[in-house]
Amino acid sequence: MTTALPRSLVPRSGLLPRSGVWAVARMAARQALVDRPQLIAKIVFYGILLLVFSQLWGVVLGAELLDSGDAANYVWYLALTEWVVISVPQVHLAIESELRDGGVAYRMARPMSYLCAQAAETIGDVAVRLAVLGSAGVVLAGALTGQPPSSAFGLLLALPLGLLAVLGLIGMQLAIGFLAFWLRDASPVFWIVQKGMFVLGGLMLPLDVYPEWLRTISDWTPFSAWIYGVGRMALDPSIDVFCSTLCRLVLWGAVLWGLAWEVHRRALRAIRRHGD
């Protein structure tokens, strides 16, 4: 009597790198699904942020209405911006840890580039988070505001923008992670970039509220496209804004992934030469 292996475990001959990347992403997605406490904790955290801000906007806008919307739309704005930010895991910590404990040397021996493997793992994980947190966000924001966003069409437009924003953010985190090869600890760089993202991206407050000079600075960074560009779909969605945000996201995504590739290449070259 023979016991057949499940089909997914049977190695296939001529496994192309592309299918390898897909397999790594699928495995990471399964792991993310199994890690339910982590997902639940993320949802709770997300819900509490929305709760805090629904109270804040309720108090502030109860006294003064902004031109571009009411308290409910601002909660929906936050639901979109936080959806993007919370969905991205801190992949730089994983890279830093492997650079520190030498785990990267084992990974380098595999028939897949280290960057591709890390990116595939992160994308698999993120895919689950985006789906779960996206659904939770709609329910939570709906429950807290008691109404849908003024334009449901805006939510649909936010979907592709959110995906592109998350891809750009992953590129940035990969680049920061590889900086740990020179800095030993890349967390300080991450903190500053993260806070830059919060402030210049308009995580808590839409950029419409910002002074003009700060808005101009923000427009020159990728943060406004990643965060405000997505959140804006809850406030004043339009095809023109969607298209311009899409172009900026693609452009910044290409720049950040190019940067991640270059930093990764240099770090691995140094490891091959010096072995440390």
Binding site: P37, K42, G58
Partner: protein, 263 residues
């Protein structure tokens, strides 16, 4: 005598951790400096907010700066002095407490003081910047600020011990425990006046953000004997509760039979 031995041991433990952190001077300065910048940078959001809205039910930018001063100071002190609290749940789940239980030192004190996080110095350095420069507090407020910050530190550290001690009953909850602990910090960094009803009760009981940020900052803003007593009593209560829950949990601890050496 026993208490004296405990405090001497704890002081020496913290001093050793400090020396270890300072040994990597560049990394230490980088982490502390960037954390200070990080806090100031984040505060820009509140500056923009209050430029636009001026006040939130009586709370102004100055009050927010005082709140940030108290909370960053308390958080910084906690992770510098009790940095090991973040690892309690993980160590319990992995059965790694054996090394602490076999030594004569109190296991909770030893665990809490087993690690010092360098970035905490950046948080601690942020406190006077927020309080004196941005919060425009007078030098006369400093004693109240120090008492408030010390009590907030005790409540925050005790909350961490309480949450992480749940691992004795629930098993592997380390990442969830860290996130729940972070919630205390998150709630304490927003104006108290935006929370109402049942949420206010939660913030002074289950997630004691009220005792970490809101009440100590009230003590700095409007000092009174009643506030002083409340802040100190809350700190003593949460410390005693954390101590008791950790003790009860320890009875349920099962060794992982892992060989871990600790000096």
């Amino acid at each position: 005598m026993r208490e004296m031995r405990r405090s001497t041991f704890f002081r020496k433990l913290v001093a050793t951790n400090l020396r270890a952190a300072l040994a990597l001077r560049a990394a230490f300065l980088l982490q502390a400096g960037f954390m200070l910048l990080n806090n100031l940078f984040f505060f820009v959001t509140w500056w923009i907010f209050f430029e636009r809205f001026e006040e939130v039910r009586g709370w102004t930018l100055r009050d927010m700066a005082s709140l940030y001063g108290v909370v960053t100071g308390a958080f910084g002190t906690t992770v510098i002095v009790f940095g090991g609290i973040r690892d309690i749940a993980e160590r319990v789940a992995n059965g790694e407490l054996d090394a602490y239980l076999t030594l004569p030192a109190d296991p909770l004190i030893h665990l809490a003081g087993s690690r010092s996080i360098a970035s905490g110095w950046g948080d601690l350095a942020s406190a006077p910047v927020f309080l004196l420069l941005l919060g425009s507090s007078a030098p006369g407020d400093i004693p109240f600020f120090l008492i408030g910050m010390a009590c907030a530190t005790v409540v925050f550290a005790s909350t961490g011990v309480l949450i992480h001690s749940l691992a004795f009953w629930l098993g592997r909850i380390d990442s969830v425990a860290r996130q729940i602990w972070d919630l205390t910090l998150l709630f304490s960094l927003y104006p108290r006046t935006i929370f109402s009803g049942a949420l206010q009760v939660v913030l002074f009981t289950l997630i004691p953000a009220g005792f970490v940020g809101h009440l100590p900052v009230e003590l700095v803003r409007r000092p009174s004997a009643l506030l002083l007593v409340s802040v100190v009593a809350a700190a003593l209560f949460y410390a005693a509760l954390a101590w008791w829950i950790f003790r009860i949990g320890l009875r349920r601890y099962a060794s992982g039979s892992r060989f871990v050496a600790r000096a």
